[in-house]
Subunit: 482 residues, 2 copies
């Protein structure tokens, strides 16, 4: 006797529920997820009884229960049919469209800028920004350490972990930043977050009094950070950026939080000059402001010695140093951290606790082992010359092929390079061609809420092969000379 | 020649930085993380040159750089000493103490209730609440699927994932809740979160207009949810709970969000009666309110058939159904989800995007495979009789040993059981003895911001062996009869 449903009916005698309940539940589930569609008539109780090897009364009882619950409709002298469960759970379509207008939601979330951008349709290898190379990642080491952590963890009882992060990971991060970035900290200063974005979100919620606190952001600057502060109710103050980085002398006296990317400005790539660093710290000191130092891709340096991090220069516990493993390892890891000044640490841990209790334990312990065993340092060391070669190819190609139109903005770090257009009136045309022949290229306008006076193009080299760079630039030149 | 420092000096010729810079950086790092302490005099340049096999001028240059940067102090005719770097980065101690009072922080985070509780010092096996059994978890299957996911993922380029979660996981969750909880949803309705706590936090931020929105919470109720709403600026309305669950007729007309635990009230364990469920949905419909249905441990049922979830009964897209894998699998996983009504979905994804971009990709894909291969359903099925036996032992023991003092509150699900004290004036004494002889037991007072009129004791049975239950209760009886 072949099955009467398109899905198997399985009975498990270990279950407390008897066969009638089990049959009922499986049919109800099938109706709910529409494996049994509205209007289908249920097979005869006799057939079901035969194919499932249960008493016919069992099937009748299960059907009765479905009918009693409104999942099925009886029909005089005919077999019961699956009811229209949609009527049991309408989702008013107008609401779908009026989502953000819905009075039941905090209007703060209405802003389109807070919506994730639909993923751009780009080839796997392109000039796109913000994504590191996956080809040279030590996957085998990561797999080995995962298996190791999982085995160790299978022997320890389940529980919740500290909100600030696993001690081993905080220790590993403290040593990593002390060495790699000369950021002076102990593991107590480190709070593990789910990527830099959560760090920005937690800091925004901690530091912003809605509709009161003025927050200075770089313009152009990293938009998701801006979103986190906007969502927290900050009054945003865009501050222009020049070849020395954020124009510190343009900071209004009443800003209380200053967010900056000193090692490699996002997106222009310039470094905040020593002069400006000291000026910025002095401003914060004198006006009771705090600084958020976003060091998102500073591990990759191609020039001389790095300038000291603001956190290193800071003598007054004014700086929150934010780091991430999204560029040095991979974004899907969702691991970042804040090196927080002592006065703010307890409260920041409170925000993290409220936000998601803590970050997932297993990934934390794998990452801790990965850093402790030196894989992070080794991977960064391995990648630096690879990115350096791509950067060189990009600079050479830009000079040789496009020197008449484009002029790179000096930069010594990171995974992307910004270039100015010599004749601003040509910007739109060049951008259009660039997006066609060097896919992934962006305009710095995308990093500002309003069009910039002098926009620039940004080329990423995280996921493009060195051999592919010059040919792409040549195609762009040909298109421009046509 | 033996080493001159207590730590190795390692040169890597693949680095761009020359030996001088490498030596300088390693010494600076050692000073910053205090492997070289303030006041230590640096070994002579001659010794360092010999032991590190570099030219003496290299060492002199490195020392000069340290001195120039203020990490070391020159001494006339003597060797340079490590400077007091503390003076370079003071953290004003008064700030440490005055943390929450600090004017630079949003006072909302001052509330002590928002701070994580220090972990309670309990034996591994105890009557503690909220932690599931780890001994029967299918660790081998989890390890196998992790290795599998990591291998698959090593072949795909890195990128950021959708904020709402991986499609495969949302699909798996939709089928799981449709079957296990008769919650009607498609994968589009599911938003993956970092545990139920993040679900509460995202919903609080989405639904609350600070200082305006009134939010009804169960009293007693789950405190971390309360914290999330308090932090979002909600005006909290505690609503009493009786043997039918939340007293719906006590809801003020102007509440706009109602948070409830219908399957197994946290912490009393009662189920919200059918009558109240319909009453609650009607209230929400009539007053334009929404409902948050927190189904934290409803997978574990020991009685007759479950009542339909509010989400299942809801015909008007009023219910946000929140689920978690912290009880059915393990808390460190930090994975939960929201089944959201269509009108709120886009905005809720926006909040998630702003909060942390998305949850970590690898854990998501392992969990998806784990559910898809039926391990979750199997594990829940395996654990149900184990928890049921503990619950039976607890009920029998309470009746036989402590029936004169204690009276269980009827409950058919979950991992804990609440009991009333027959003579309220004895509550304090009995609680004191219980915490001593049945460690992990809590008072429902801990689930309320003010002392309850009739508090109860709560016994968890997630991490206690069936054999240990009755002996513990006997010891408690002896203590009480003494």
């Amino acid at each position: 006797m072949e099955p009467v449903f398109e899905f198997p009916i399985v009975f498990d005698d270990r279950l407390q529920a008897g066969r009638m309940r089990q049959l009922h539940e499986q049919l109800r589930a099938a109706i709910l997820d529409q494996r049994l569609r509205q209007g289908t008539s249920l097979p005869s109780t006799r057939d079901v009884a035969a194919s499932c090897r249960v008493a016919r009364n069992t099937v009748i009882a299960a059907y009765d229960l479905l009918i009693a619950e409104g999942y099925a409709l009886p029909r005089k002298g005919a077999r019961a049919v699956v009811a229209d469960i949609a009527t049991r759970r309408v989702s008013k379509p107008r609401r779908l469209t009026a989502a953000h207008g819905d009075a039941r939601m905090n209007p703060a979330w209405g802003a389109a800028s807070l919506q994730p951008q639909p993923p751009r349709d780009l080839p796997e290898r392109s000039f796109r920004l913000g994504i590191p190379e996956h080809r040279h990642f030590p996957h085998a080491a990561w797999r080995r350490l995962s298996a190791q952590s999982l085995r160790a963890w299978s022997k320890t009882p389940f529980s919740y972990a500290p909100s600030e992060g696993l001690p081993l990971l905080r220790e590993a991060i403290a040593q990593h930043v002390a060495f790699a970035r000369a950021v002076a900290c102990r593991s107590d200063d480190v709070i593990v977050t789910s990527g830099a974005q959560q760090a920005f979100d937690l800091l925004a919620r901690l530091l912003v009094v809605p509709r009161r606190t003025r927050v200075a952001i770089e313009d152009p600057g990293y938009m998701p950070l801006r979103s986190a502060f906007a969502a927290a109710g900050a009054r945003l103050v865009p501050v222009p950026v020049d070849d020395e980085g954020m124009c510190v002398d343009r900071l209004p006296k009443d800003v209380r939080v200053i967010s900056v990317t000193p090692s490699h400005q996002s997106p222009t790539g310039v470094a905040l000059s020593s002069r400006r660093r000291l000026q910025l710290l002095e401003f914060a000191r004198n006006h009771g402001a705090v600084i958020i130092e976003d060091d998102y891709d500073g591990e990759f340096r191609f020039g001389g010695r790095p300038l000291d991090a603001l956190q290193t220069l800071d003598g007054d516990a004014l700086v929150f140093y934010v780091g991430t493993f999204s560029k040095s390892l991979f974004p899907g890891l969702r691991k970042g951290f804040v090196v927080a000044p002592p006065w703010a640490r307890a409260a920041l841990v409170g925000v993290k606790h409220c936000a998601d209790s803590h970050s997932d334990t297993i990934t934390q312990s794998v990452l801790a082992a990965f850093i402790r065993e030196g894989h992070l340092a080794r991977h960064v060391r391995r990648m630096r010359p690879i990115y350096a070669a791509r950067r060189e190819a990009l600079l050479d190609g830009l000079r040789r092929e496009l020197g008449d139109w484009l002029e790179p903005i000096a930069s010594e770090a990171g995974l992307h390079l910004a270039v100015r257009v010599r004749e601003p009136q040509l910007f739109a045309r060049i951008l259009g061609q660039a997006q066609r022949f060097t896919p992934g290229v962006q305009s710095t306008d995308e990093y500002s809420s309003k069009p910039l006076a002098v926009p620039a193009l940004v080329f990423g080299y995280g996921v493009i092969d060195v051999e592919a760079i010059v040919p792409a630039l040549m195609r762009l030149r040909r298109a421009l000379t046509r």
